[in-house]
């Protein structure tokens, strides 16, 4: 174990053994210092020299010692013969040997599409690359999908549709010089706290912050204008904003004419949405819609969004509508402008770059494109006897679990994620896993709600036990440095895939010596792509506070690594003003371009950015009758995902110790429930017991509940909130509409729990028929 040598000036202030690394939680990608002592992580703090956070962090990473050294870390490969039997610790050879033999047997019998990998935005780029190479290249299945499908696949679809390629155009540095920030469907204050801190800094300097969210969240509270849009009505709002921009002559006509296509059809749709009509649908006063539109069109403006836009059956259109606003007003490619999706997971971006979704290949390539497949196959030196990469996109997450349930997919290998809690219609996801012939779970913890359903559990190294890279929401590639050895037999995920590949017969193709070699192989595959990071290496990252791509090989040779990116110059004067708020001189922004498309040349066939009409559509499941409320789900500030790590910290758990739902006082009154009482949230699919928080921060007709509590963290028998959600998805991005399900609230007066009800099969009888359950896969 080596501790990274820090630059001398930094080391002086760091004292004891500290390792410079980045945060494993959200997509903001803050720099951290991890202090260790005798093989234990003792404390974590923000890295003052890191440009993203400048020393700030939220509460979650500070509590990582409790998670890293938790007693339920997976430390040995486990196997069991029967799923209702007990696990036995086995060696790696036996575990991998058994798993490989089972996979081969299933492939021989049912074809490669009968196996699937369900992976995670928590994985490092190297891990992502290794599993995609093995599955899509060597095993011949494109059934490799990531939990990022539930998180930001609509953003991918939005960017690809508008610009011809994925890739968020602006950076956090643009926040520091923007005049107007439009936040839609993002509780930035709770979920991306350090981006929120930067927004607040800029707001103090006069920027205008608009927040569109059904709830009066902490973010809405801190905004200058809150647009309390009804769930599922964002498109009415955004179309109406475009309507105002068009009607009031605020369109950047020259930009639109020179650099875009599709304006006429798009504005034609928008013209159907005068603010007065939109108000009826979305609930936002017409005057506020107009005010927001004028603000957005006036100065330098950015659009920011997160799951509220993405987790929708029209998620791609919501992304397009936000980008439409940017394009119509020319808010792109200049300092302080652009559409910036805030990714939920730390390496959702790296996953996209490595082809982590079922239709993608490394370097933002697609499996349907023959040229893309050939380039990748060549790079991978696929043996001639293999069938090669399939041209058929694999199954996206929801369909993957449907296929498991239907028996079309027989084996699933789940890595660093907890679908038994996080998937929509979670009891169905669980049933799907129970039907699978082989479930392998590769995770840093055991049991999780998912690993409890496994045949084989493989122990994975966690943060800060492995080297590798992650890309944050602003295209910044950062190096995770190891500060500890993994516990007992745990291994970095890419090494586990390499072992599996070797067992399957391809040792030489997966014979990397270390993570840096994996990265180099991947980076070379991005040369010439939009996400070109072929100039980046672990060695270069050692000397940089992250590098923003594109960063082609020649950039490294040109010495751009040492110089601030040329594109920074434009905004430099104002940027430095903000940085001076921090104590002492601000940290270097690091190499690589701050923003894409400064030349307004877009990677579309005609080089123009594309507008797209975004007609409003109703929710997949409209509330009404016995299910009069819309359940919208999300996170709380101190918990992450399914609480596997944050649930270990008493300090984090203290703020929200148990699952809850926010209910409007009038809805609470009609449901005859009271503040502080346990209540059931009931949908057509399932139910969950939570504690009522009767608040007026939520509009009438809407219930908010965080989704993170699964069986291991919720009170016994309470059930998870995703038991109530559904998997109806966006037709383009295949992202499910986790943000809106029709539910009712009931008092819990008989001591019954949903478990009992489910076991007795009562549930479906008490609810109207489920139109979504019969969706085709």
């Amino acid at each position: 174990m080596t501790t990274t040598t820090l630059p001398t000036d930094a080391t002086a202030s760091l004292g004891e053994a500290a390792t410079r690394t980045v945060c494993p939680y959200c997509g903001v990608g803050c720099g951290l210092l991890a202090r260790t002592e005798r093989g234990r992580l003792t404390s974590v703090e923000g890295d003052r020299d890191y440009p993203v956070n400048r020393g700030r962090t939220c509460r979650k990473p500070l509590e990582l010692p409790a998670a890293v050294h938790a007693r339920d870390r997976a430390v040995a490969p486990l196997m069991r013969l029967r799923r209702d039997g007990r696990f036995h610790a086995v060696g790696w050879d036996e575990a991998i040997g058994t798993a490989a033999a089972s996979l081969l047997e299933i492939v021989a019998e049912h074809g490669p599409e009968a196996i699937a990998f369900y992976i995670s935005g928590q994985l490092l780029t190297e891990d992502y690359y290794a599993v995609n190479k093995l599955a899509k290249g060597f095993l011949g299945t494109n059934n490799v999908d990531s939990n990022s499908r539930l998180c930001m696949s609509s953003a991918v679809a939005g960017y690809v549709g508008a610009f011809g390629s994925d890739g968020p155009p602006p950076s956090y540095a643009d926040l520091d010089v923007a005049d107007c920030l439009l936040l839609l469907g993002t509780n930035t204050a709770a979920c991306h706290p350090i981006v929120w801190a930067r927004i607040r800094d800029r707001q103090a300097e006069g920027a205008f912050v608009i927040c569109a969210d059904p709830r009066r969240t902490a973010t809405a509270e801190g905004s200058d204008l809150h647009l309390p849009v009804r769930p599922g009505a964002d498109l009415a709002l955004l179309n109406a904003m475009l309507h105002v921009i068009d009607a009031e002559g605020l369109v950047a006509s020259t930009f639109v004419a020179r650099h875009t296509s599709g304006w006429d059809e798009t504005v034609a749709e928008a013209r159907r949405w005068p603010p007065s009509r939109a108000e009826e649908i979305c609930g936002v006063p017409a005057a506020d819609i107009a005010a927001a539109a004028r603000r957005f069109a006036a100065g330098r403006s950015m659009a920011l969004w997160s799951m509220g836009a993405n987790q929708s059956s029209v998620g791609t259109h919501k992304n397009r509508a936000l980008i439409n606003l940017c394009l119509a007003t020319g808010q792109i490619g200049r300092p302080g402008t652009g559409p910036l999706s805030l990714t939920g997971q730390p390496n959702a971006m790296g996953g996209r770059e490595t082809g982590g979704l079922s239709q993608m290949l490394p370097g933002y390539r697609r499996v349907e494109h023959a040229a893309d497949r050939e380039a990748v196959e060549r790079h991978w030196e696929l043996p001639a006897e293999l069938a090669g990469i399939s041209p058929e996109p694999g199954l996206p997450a929801v369909e993957l679990f449907d296929a498991l349930e239907a028996g079309r997919v027989k084996a699933v290998w789940i890595v660093a994620t907890n679908p038994a809690v996080s998937m929509p219609d979670a009891s169905r996801a669980r049933a799907a896993l129970e039907r699978a012939e082989l479930v392998v779970v590769q995770d840093a913890y055991h049991p999780t709600e998912t690993s409890a359903l496994a045949h084989i559990v493989l122990p994975a190294a966690s943060w800060p036990e492995k080297a590798g890279t992650m890309t944050n929401s602003e295209r910044r590639v950062a190096l995770m440095r190891p500060a500890l050895d993994p516990p007992a037999q745990a291994l970095p995920d890419w090494r586990i895939f390499a072992r599996l590949a070797a067992e399957l017969g391809w040792p030489e193709h997966f014979g990397w010596a270390d993570a840096a070699e994996v990265f180099d192989e991947f980076a070379a595959l991005t040369a010439g792509r939009v996400c070109d990071l072929s100039g980046i290496s672990h060695a270069l990252l050692e000397r940089s506070p992250g590098i923003q791509w594109p960063f082609p090989a020649r950039a490294a040779v040109d010495g751009r690594a040492a110089e601030p990116a040329q594109s920074r110059a434009e905004g430099a004067a104002t940027t430095s003003r903000t940085l001076s708020n921090a104590s002492g001189p601000g940290p270097d922004e690091g190499p690589g371009p701050v923003r894409l498309y400064e030349d307004h040349s877009y990677p579309t066939p005609d080089g123009r950015a594309r507008f797209e009409p975004t007609p409003h559509r109703d929710l997949a499941e409209q509330p009404g009758g016995e299910l009069p409320l819309v359940l919208t789900t999300g996170r709380v500030a101190n918990h992450w995902h399914t609480m596997t790590r944050t649930g270990k910290s008493p300090a984090l758990t203290a703020s929200d110790p148990e699952p809850f739902a926010e209910i409007h006082p009038l809805d609470a009154a009609s449901a005859e429930v009271e503040d502080g009482e346990p209540v059931r949230i009931v949908s057509r699919r399932g139910q969950s017991t939570v504690r009522a928080r009767v608040v007026d921060a939520i509009p009438r007709g809407v219930v908010f509940a965080p989704f993170g509590w699964g069986a291991l963290h919720a009170p016994a028998g309470a059930g998870g909130v995703n038991a109530a959600t559904h998997g109806a998805s966006d037709p383009v991005s295949h992202q499910p509409e986790l943000k809106a399900a029709a539910v009712r609230i009931e008092p819990v007066d008989d001591g019954r729990t949903d478990v009992a009800a489910r076991l007795e099969g009562r549930l479906r009888d008490t609810c109207p028929a489920d139109p979504i359950a019969s969706r085709s896969a």
């Binding site: 002592e37 007990r86 033999a101 012939e437 076991l759």
Partner: protein, 489 residues
């Protein structure tokens, strides 16, 4: 998939209303039943078989029965109606005679068979009685069951001088109970100090001094070799007058039933993190189970085991990953907490503070800046803080390491401080629950929060919180605070 590669097709037939048999009506067995009922009310068909004649009681509080400060009703954990309402077929005074793994049935001693889909073995432990001459005399008692406690209590009416064989946790609690009944009590411990499994010499010395102050004599490094009707003889040859002898020299896991059925047993019944035994469909919890090489004897980890087993029986995800053993001694007037290792490793550090004027002893065992173990005598606020530090592994603040540190000064307002460590109930929860329900008695608080239903050592604090709550509008708060009960020597 074929069996050849080791993994069977995993679909599990959903059981409707599984039959669950719990062998053992001790605290662990009851907690398993509670966990099952809580998760799936009226779902499983539960049968509990127990050797003892009473429904489950709080064994930890038996010393109060001995002391006659509580009767059996006070320590009963669930009223008889609860079992009926929960659909539990409770068979007291009905020992299990054998387990037939092939047929999935339990035979009881009166010849009935109990088929199961899931079997939970919670047979607990039995007292270890050293082979001392005279150990079968009528004035020699064990201290395990209500019958034992009642028998000792009755014998104490007629006795004047008692000897307790064993200076461990249980022995000292028995001794304190007898002391409160007005007997002259001597505890005899073979090891060179009291509570040798938990305490270092310094802590044990402070404890002995405190006990002496309460009137309890302890002899260490000595063993009882013979018991006579009116006296005992020690290994050095000297004799102590004694007309009542209690043997509390440790326990052994009750594994015979499982072992005879062919279930893997070492010191205890071997279980994995789900508390599954080597036999499919059979779980084991409590003092009879051996998990990762440890047979636990303290309630907090056993309660966790039981909750995990209950979930696992129902097919819910759950795992017990082991626990640091931490314990408190519950003798009125002495507040003792011990957790983690009592000596530092080669690279560790130890900080020891001993102050006989204040009757305070404190030992902190550090691994780097992390607290690995601690002994805390008569500093309850520090003890609470130490519990948290042991649990989280957080850095120990420099202030705590100062020899004279007033460690608990700011703890009064700490809502997160765990008051009831057995059931993990925080001060904040208690304050809120007491206020909301206008609860005025400890049993009501116990019913609402489970606090005090474990080892009971937090009862004083809970009383204090109740008193504080009821005096919230009162000008003179202090007057209403309760002093801990004094022990009559």
């Amino acid at each position: 998939m074929s069996a050849a590669n080791g993994v069977h097709r995993g679909a599990r037939a959903p059981r409707s209303n599984p039959r669950v048999v719990i062998v053992g009506t001790g605290m662990a067995g009851l907690r398993v039943a509670e966990a099952i009922v809580e998760r799936a009310p009226r779902h499983a068909r539960l049968t509990m078989l127990g050797t003892e004649p009473d429904p489950t009681y709080n064994r930890i509080l038996l010393s109060k029965v001995l002391a006659r400060t509580a009767d059996l009703g006070d320590i009963e954990l669930k009223p008889a109606s609860w079992y009926a309402e929960s659909g539990i077929d409770l068979r007291t005074a009905t020992s299990a005679a054998g387990i037939d793994l092939d047929r999935s049935v339990v035979h009881d001693e009166i010849g009935e068979t109990h088929p199961y889909d899931a079997l939970v073995v919670a047979t607990g432990s039995r007292p270890f009685v050293p082979p001392i001459e005279g150990r079968d005399l009528p004035h020699v008692f064990r201290f395990r069951t209500t019958a034992d406690a009642l028998a000792i209590a009755a014998a104490a009416d007629r006795a004047e001088r008692a000897v307790v064989v064993g200076g461990g946790l249980l022995g000292l609690e028995a001794a304190a109970g007898l002391l409160s009944r007005g007997l002259e009590v001597t505890a005899v411990e073979t090891a060179d100090r009291l509570m040798a499994q938990q305490l270092d010499h310094g802590g044990a010395a402070m404890l002995a001094r405190e006990l002496e102050g309460l009137g309890l004599t302890s002899l260490t490094g000595r063993s009882v070799t013979q018991i006579h009707p009116d006296r005992v003889r020690l290994n050095g040859g000297e004799e102590l007058p004694a007309d009542l002898v209690v043997v509390a020299a440790g326990v052994r896991a009750q594994t015979a039933l499982a072992a005879e059925a062919g279930i893997e047993v070492r010191r205890g019944i071997l279980v994995d993190d789900e508390l599954r035994t080597s036999a499919p469909g059979v779980w084991a919890v409590g003092e009879c189970a051996e998990h990762r090489g440890t047979v636990y004897g303290l309630w907090a980890p056993l309660a966790e085991q039981a909750a995990v087993a209950g979930a696992s029986v129902l097919g819910e995800p759950a795992g017990f990953a082991g626990a640091d053993t931490a314990t408190t001694l519950k003798i009125a007037g002495i507040d003792l907490f011990v957790g983690g290792p009592q000596a530092a490793g080669p690279d560790g550090e130890e900080i020891v503070v001993s102050d006989t004027r204040r009757s305070v002893y404190r030992k902190l065992v550090l691994e780097g800046s992390r607290l690995a173990g601690a002994i805390v005598v008569n500093e309850p606020q520090l003890a609470r803080r130490v519990v948290e530090l042991l649990r989280t592994g957080s850095e120990v603040s420099a202030a705590l390491l100062e020899p004279g540190a007033d460690a608990g000064a700011d703890d009064e307002d700490d809502e997160e401080a765990i008051v009831c460590s057995c059931n993990r109930v925080t001060r904040g929860e208690l304050v809120a629950t007491i206020a909301e329900g206008e609860l005025e008695t400890v049993p009501k608080v116990a019913e609402a929060t489970k606090a005090t239903t474990g080892c009971g050592s937090c009862t004083g604090e809970v009383e204090m919180l109740i008193a504080n709550a009821s005096s919230a509008g009162n000008t003179d708060v202090k007057e209403l605070k309760l002093e801990p009960a004094k022990v009559e020597a």
